[in-house]
């Protein structure tokens, strides 16, 4: 109940923001939300299933390049291109998930990394399609269907991103609270036990990876027309590392934490990189600080405070402890 209220206020504030923001900040905020969505998609794997991916850039890059190719070559309406880009990412994710879930732990992380680097290498191998190191430039935001064009301007695009983010969040939240989501918690806690209870844990893990790729693909697909280009860097392992850090700092296993983690760190990066070249140093120090002092992340601290308050209030809060685990 209270969480819903807070969320509603955040969304409302987000919806009103463009009215009073300078154009530059609006752009940064839009990119922040896109990265927030990207981080949230990884949280399904990292926070809920303990599947540490070090190659989630593959999802971002796949979505971005799919959208960029559809938009520049076919000029199909942006919403349709987004849907198709997500479907493409989901489809490519199936064999990737199949291979990666053959292993666990560090080798799982290495396999996801290998696939992202494979995508990176393929961009240079198929230059004619992908533009090689130049990437794809001048990605448009074609209007339609039915003549819808409100998303073409910067403010409109911000709303489109906000809409996709809120929709994806609600969908992910329903997934982690479903019977399927409960099994993910079981796999996270003790996979051998889940298997011996009768769950085909690999099938659950595969599904989770594919879903995470789908949401990550949507983030990438939103990025290409936002930035106007798709470049090989989107597939690069630095992107995978950064998003993993944002999930952990934001609060793995909360969905909302990584959204704020992603948005917050992107914003910080923009601000700091203007002041000093040393911002990666600050970024790194912050990460170390969080891992050592607040392993449950930003949202973990906030949620912990809220829950303690609710417990003190009579008759308050019957939040299941597993929801925050």
């Amino acid at each position: 109940m209270r969480l819903g209220l807070v969320l509603g206020l955040v969304v409302l504030a987000g919806a009103l923001l463009p009215l009073g923001l300078p154009r530059y900040l609006l752009t940064v905020l839009t990119e922040g939300l896109i990265f927030g969505l990207f981080a949230m998609s990884l949280d399904l794997m990292v926070g809920y299933t303990r599947l540490y991916s070090f190659g989630h850039a593959a999802a971002y890059g796949l979505g971005a390049y799919s959208a960029a190719l559809i938009l520049t070559h076919l000029h199909w309406p942006l919403p349709i291109a987004l849907v198709l880009a997500v479907l493409t990412t989901l489809l490519v994710a199936i064999p990737i998930a199949w291979v990666c879930t053959k292993s666990t732990g560090v080798s799982f992380a290495m396999l996801t990394l290998a696939f992202a680097q494979l995508g990176y290498a393929m961009l240079f191998r198929f230059k004619e399609v992908t533009g090689g190191s130049d990437g794809i430039d001048g990605v448009p935001r074609p209007a339609g269907p039915f003549g819808i064009d409100w998303f073409q301007g910067e403010t409109g695009y911000f709303y489109l991103v906000l809409f996709c983010l809120v929709g994806s969040y609600l969908l992910s939240r329903a997934i982690v609270r479903s019977p399927f989501g409960a099994v993910l918690a079981g796999i996270r806690e003790n996979e051998a036990k889940a298997r011996s209870l009768g769950y085909n844990t690999r099938a659950y893990k595969m599904t989770t990876v594919v879903l995470a790729y789908g949401f990550g693909g949507l983030a990438g697909a939103l990025y290409a027309p936002f930035a106007g280009f798709a470049s090989p860097e989107l597939f690069f392992w630095l992107v995978s590392g950064r998003v993993l850090i944002m999930v952990i700092v934001g609060g793995a296993g909360t969905l909302i934490g990584p959204i704020f983690g992603g948005a917050f760190f992107l914003f910080l990066e923009h601000q700091l990189s203007e002041i000093t070249d040393l911002w990666p140093l600050i970024f790194g120090s912050l990460f170390i600080g969080f891992v050592l002092l607040a392993p449950q992340g930003i949202f973990g601290i906030v949620a912990g405070r809220l829950r303690r308050k609710e417990r003190r209030a009579p008759g308050g809060g019957e939040e299941a402890p597993d929801a925050a685990a």
């Binding site: 969908l171 329903a174 997934i175 479903s178 019977p179 399927f180 409960a182 099994v183 918690a185 079981g186 806690e189 003790n190 051998a192 036990k193 889940a194 298997r195 011996s196 209870l197 009768g198 769950y199 085909n200 844990t201 599904t207 299941a320 402890p321 597993d322 685990a325």
Partner: protein, 249 residues
């Protein structure tokens, strides 16, 4: 026809033959104890039946169907539930959620990705029933990691019972329990078994527990079955006395 039938079941680990050509039949409704000294192959036998290990030779039949070498989750799908010698739980989840996830594994809606309130509600009801049977209801909302060792052992049994299994396999349910905890556990197990509809195989070191619960006893020694039969007869068997009970009783 026995519910569970083992034919020449063997498992080698390198030069060691942990389980050697074991033949065994468990009738529906029977409570069978498998006893034997450490290293006799009891846990390996469990792992062979439940698909954690693949047999080197031999076959496992359940309700007439061959299940030899199937993956663990498929064997569980036949209605075989087990507990482990070392407690296997979901430590951060509540006791109720532990049991509920176990019950959900037998529910058609276990794959439901969205919604699923109905599945969650009916499996929660099964969980509460199983917790009640093991007298764990007061602890339902506590994370499994915070339960005492004895209650954790009982919780794992509750998880198995909540699956309404056709065959229940308990690997040393009283392992590591104090005398009072063991009595408590045995009482609860007896109560849970009272209906008589459950078939159970039990690995146990505590002979008192064995004689309180089991109808029949199989004695394993170095991977072989050296005795097999009604509890009283096995207790009196001189071979068993020598090999295991040590004639002390």
């Amino acid at each position: 026809m026995p519910l569970l039938e083992l034919k020449g079941l063997s498992r080698r680990f390198g030069a060691l033959v942990a389980v050697d050509a074991v033949d065994m039949g468990i009738e529906a409704g029977e409570i069978r104890a498998v006893i034997g000294p450490n290293g006799a192959g009891k846990s390996t036998l469990f792992n062979l039946i439940t698909g954690l290990f693949r047999p080197s030779a031999g076959a496992v039949y359940f309700a007439g169907a061959e299940i030899t070498g199937l993956p663990a989750h498929q064997i569980a799908g036949y209605g075989i539930a087990r507990t482990f010698q070392l407690t296997h739980l979901f430590p951060q989840l509540t006791a109720r959620e532990n049991v509920r996830i176990a019950a959900q594994a037998r529910d058609k809606g276990r794959w439901q990705l969205l919604g699923g309130g109905g599945v969650l509600a009916r499996t929660a009801a099964l969980a509460d029933e199983a917790l009640e049977r093991m007298r764990l209801s007061p602890l339902a909302d506590r994370p499994a990691a915070l339960l005492s060792h004895g209650d954790q052992r009982l919780l794992e049994v509750a998880m198995a019972i909540a699956q309404k299994p056709r065959l229940l396999m308990l690997d040393e349910p009283t392992q590591g329990l104090s005398i009072e905890e063991t009595d408590h556990a045995v009482d609860n197990l007896k109560a849970a078994l009272a209906g008589g509809e459950l078939t159970m195989i039990l690995v146990e070191h505590d002979m008192e527990v064995v004689f309180k619960l089991a109808d029949n006893i199989t004695v394993l020694h170095r991977g072989h079955v050296i005795a097999d039969g009604p509890a009283a007869a096995v207790r009196a068997d001189p071979v068993v006395q020598r090999a295991y009970l040590g004639g002390a009783e």
